[in-house]
C-alpha cells in the first residue's frame, strides 16, 4: 500500500514538469466553455423554448461550468498510454514487474489527475464565479455531488481501461480515444442535458453508462434531484463499476494471451 502511495506522489511530481502542457489545456478548457456559454446564450435569447425540466439560462451556464470541472477531474489518457506501451513494447516490462498492472495504471491516473484537477479546476471555478455567476449548491448537495463524482472517476477509468485493452487485438487504438470521447460528449450529456433528447435518443442514452459520468452528477450539483433519486444514482453507479471490473478481469485474461510484444 505504501508503495502505491509513493508511486502516486511520484507521478504527481513528474506531471508538474509538463506544466506548460496543462496550462495549454486550461486555456483550451476556457475556450471550450466560452463556446458552450455563447451557444446557450444565443439559443435562449432567440426562441420559444419550453421544457418540463427547464433550466433557466443561469442554471444552464452552471451546467456547462460543472461539466468542464468534471471533465478536468475524470478525464484521463489511458487509451493513449496503453497504445504507446504496446507500440514501444514497454508493456513487456510492466508485465514482468511483481506488481499488478491495473493498480499501477490507477495510481498513474490518480497522480496525473490530481495535478490536472488543481491546475485546471481551480482557475475555472475562480473565473466562472467572477464572470458567469457560478455558485455551488448547499453543503449537503455539494457533499452528495462529490461522492458521485468519485464514482464517476472510477467508471471513466474502467471504461477507458477496457477500451484500451482492445489494443491487444487491434494494435493501433489512438483514434478510438477520439471516438469514445465524442460518444461520451453527446450521450453523457457533457453540454446538452439529456432532458432535451427526443424520446428514442433519450432511451438510448439511458441504457448507456456514460450519463453516470457527467449528467447524473451534474443534476445533483444543480439540486434537480431528490435524495431518493440520488441514492438510485449511486446504486446505478456502483452496479456499473462492479460490472465493468468483471468485464475488465475477463478481457484481461483473454487479452494477455493475445498480446504481441514489439521491439526488443
Amino acid at each position: 500500500m505504501g508503495f502505491y502511495f509513493r508511486y502516486t506522489i511520484n507521478v504527481f511530481q513528474q506531471n508538474s514538469i509538463y506544466r506548460t502542457r496543462f496550462i495549454l489545456q486550461l486555456f483550451y478548457s476556457i475556450l471550450n466553455l466560452l463556446v458552450y456559454i455563447s451557444i446557450w446564450t444565443a439559443l435562449y435569447s432567440t426562441s420559444k423554448f419550453s421544457n418540463p425540466q427547464t433550466l433557466n439560462l443561469n442554471e444552464m451556464i452552471n451546467y456547462v461550468v460543472v461539466s468542464t470541472i468534471i471533465s478536468s477531474i475524470v478525464s484521463n489518457n489511458i487509451i493513449y498510454m496503453i497504445d504507446n506501451k504496446i507500440k514501444t513494447g514497454d508493456i513487456a516490462i510492466d508485465l514482468i514487474r511483481p506488481i499488478d498492472f491495473s493498480t499501477l495504471l490507477l495510481c498513474e491516473t490518480i497522480g496525473r489527475n490530481l495535478y490536472q484537477t488543481i491546475i485546471i479546476s481551480v482557475p475555472i471555478i475562480i473565473i466562472s464565479s467572477f464572470f458567469f455567476e457560478f455558485s455551488p449548491p448547499n453543503p449537503t448537495y455539494l457533499g452528495l455531488f462529490i461522492f458521485s463524482l468519485l464514482l464517476a472517476f472510477i467508471i471513466n477509468f474502467c471504461l477507458m481501461f477496457l477500451f484500451g485493452m482492445l489494443g491487444f487485438w487491434y494494435l493501433t487504438i489512438w483514434h478510438l480515444d477520439q471516438f469514445l470521447n465524442d460518444i461520451i460528449k453527446l450521450f453523457a450529456g457533457v453540454w446538452i442535458p439529456l432532458w432535451l433528447f427526443p424520446g428514442f435518443l433519450s432511451d438510448f442514452a439511458n441504457y448507456l453508462p456514460f450519463r453516470l459520468i457527467y449528467f447524473s452528477p451534474i443534476t445533483i450539483f444543480l439540486e434537480k434531484v431528490t435524495i431518493e433519486e440520488i441514492l438510485f444514482i449511486y446504486m446505478q453507479q456502483l452496479i456499473t463499476v462492479v460490472f465493468l471490473v468483471l468485464l475488465i478481469a475477463l478481457t484481461w485474461r483473454k487479452g494477455i494471451r493475445k498480446i504481441v510484444i514489439q521491439g526488443g
Partner: protein, 271 residues
C-alpha cells in the same frame, strides 16, 4: 527537378503507403468508419439542439449543418495530407530523427507529407460529401454560375487556411519542446468557435476570428455566398464573404515562411 517530378515521387510514395495499409484491410476500413461515426454524433448534437429551440440565431438545422460541413470538408482534405506528418514533428525533433529529412535531396515538407498519408481522413471527406448532397436535396438552394464558382474557389481557400493552420501548429515544435498540445488547441480548441455561426459571439470574439485568427473565413464568410438572405447579419463588411481565397493564399505563404524559419532554427538533439 520540375514540379512534375515531385508529383511523381508523391504518387509513388502514396501508392506504397496505401499498399502497406491495405495489408491490414480490417484496420484500414474501420479507421475510416470510426471517423464517419464520430462526426455523425456532432451532427446529431446540432439536430437535438435545433429540434428543441427551432433555430440558433436565425439559422435553421440545414443551414448550421451546411456551415459545419464546409469546415469538415476542408479539414478532411488538409488532414488527409498533413495530420500525421505535423503530429510527427514533435517526436522527430525531440529525438533528432529530423536530421534524416534534412539530408535528403528533396523538399523537407514534401518528403514528410509523402511518407505519411492520414487515411482515416477519408472518413471526413466521405461524410461531408454525403452531407452536402443531403443538404442540396432538402434545401432547394438555387445558385447562379458566379455563386457556384465563387463557392468552389472559397472551398479551395478554406482548405488552404486549414492546411496553413496545421503547418503553423507543426512548426511550433521547432521552438517549443513537447508542443503537440499547441497543435490540438489550434485545431480543436479554436475550431470549436466556428462550429456555429460566429454571429452568436460577442463583438470582440468576432473581431478576433475575422482579423487576428481568421478562422471565420473557413466557413462563416464563404457560406454567406450560398445564403445571400443571411447578409442582413453580415458582420463588418459584406465583401468579406469573397475574402476566403485571398486569406487562404496569404495564410499559406505565411505558414510556409514560418515552417522554413523553423527549419533554419532546428538544432539536432540526437547523436
Amino acid at each position: 527537378m520540375g514540379e512534375g517530378y515531385k508529383l511523381n515521387v508523391y504518387a509513388a510514395f502514396i501508392k506504397i503507403y496505401i499498399k502497406t495499409k491495405l495489408e491490414y484491410r480490417f484496420s484500414f476500413f474501420s479507421d475510416i468508419f470510426l471517423q464517419i461515426f464520430t462526426f455523425s454524433f456532432m451532427y446529431l448534437g446540432i439536430w437535438i439542439l435545433i429540434d428543441n429551440f427551432g433555430n440558433i440565431n436565425g439559422w435553421s438545422f440545414y443551414e448550421v449543418m451546411f456551415l459545419y460541413n464546409v469546415n469538415l470538408f476542408s479539414y478532411g482534405i488538409s488532414g488527409l495530407l498533413l495530420w500525421i506528418p505535423m503530429k510527427q514533428v514533435e517526436g522527430l525533433v525531440h529525438n533528432g530523427d529530423f536530421d534524416l529529412y534534412m539530408t535528403k535531396p528533396m523538399n523537407i515538407l514534401l518528403h514528410l507529407i509523402s511518407k505519411n498519408f492520414t487515411h482515416p481522413f477519408f472518413g471526413h471527406i466521405i461524410l461531408s460529401i454525403f452531407i452536402f448532397i443531403l443538404i442540396f436535396i432538402n434545401m432547394s438552394i438555387s445558385l447562379n454560375l458566379f455563386q457556384v464558382l465563387m463557392f468552389c474557389l472559397s472551398l479551395f481557400g478554406a482548405t488552404l487556411i486549414q492546411i496553413s493552420i496545421m503547418i503553423i501548429g507543426g512548426s511550433i515544435n521547432f521552438w517549443l519542446i513537447k508542443a503537440s498540445t499547441f497543435l490540438d488547441i489550434m485545431i480543436y480548441g479554436l475550431r470549436g468557435f466556428i462550429s456555429y455561426p460566429i454571429s452568436i459571439y460577442t463583438h470582440s470574439i468576432q473581431f478576433i476570428l475575422t482579423f487576428a485568427l481568421p478562422y471565420a473565413f473557413i466557413n462563416y464568410y464563404p457560406v454567406m455566398i450560398v445564403f445571400p438572405e443571411k447578409s442582413s447579419e453580415m458582420l463588418f463588411n459584406k465583401y468579406l464573404s469573397f475574402g476566403t481565397p485571398v486569406i487562404g493564399a496569404i495564410m499559406f505563404i505565411i505558414a510556409l515562411r514560418i515552417w522554413n524559419i523553423g527549419i533554419k532554427n532546428y538544432q539536432s538533439t540526437g547523436s
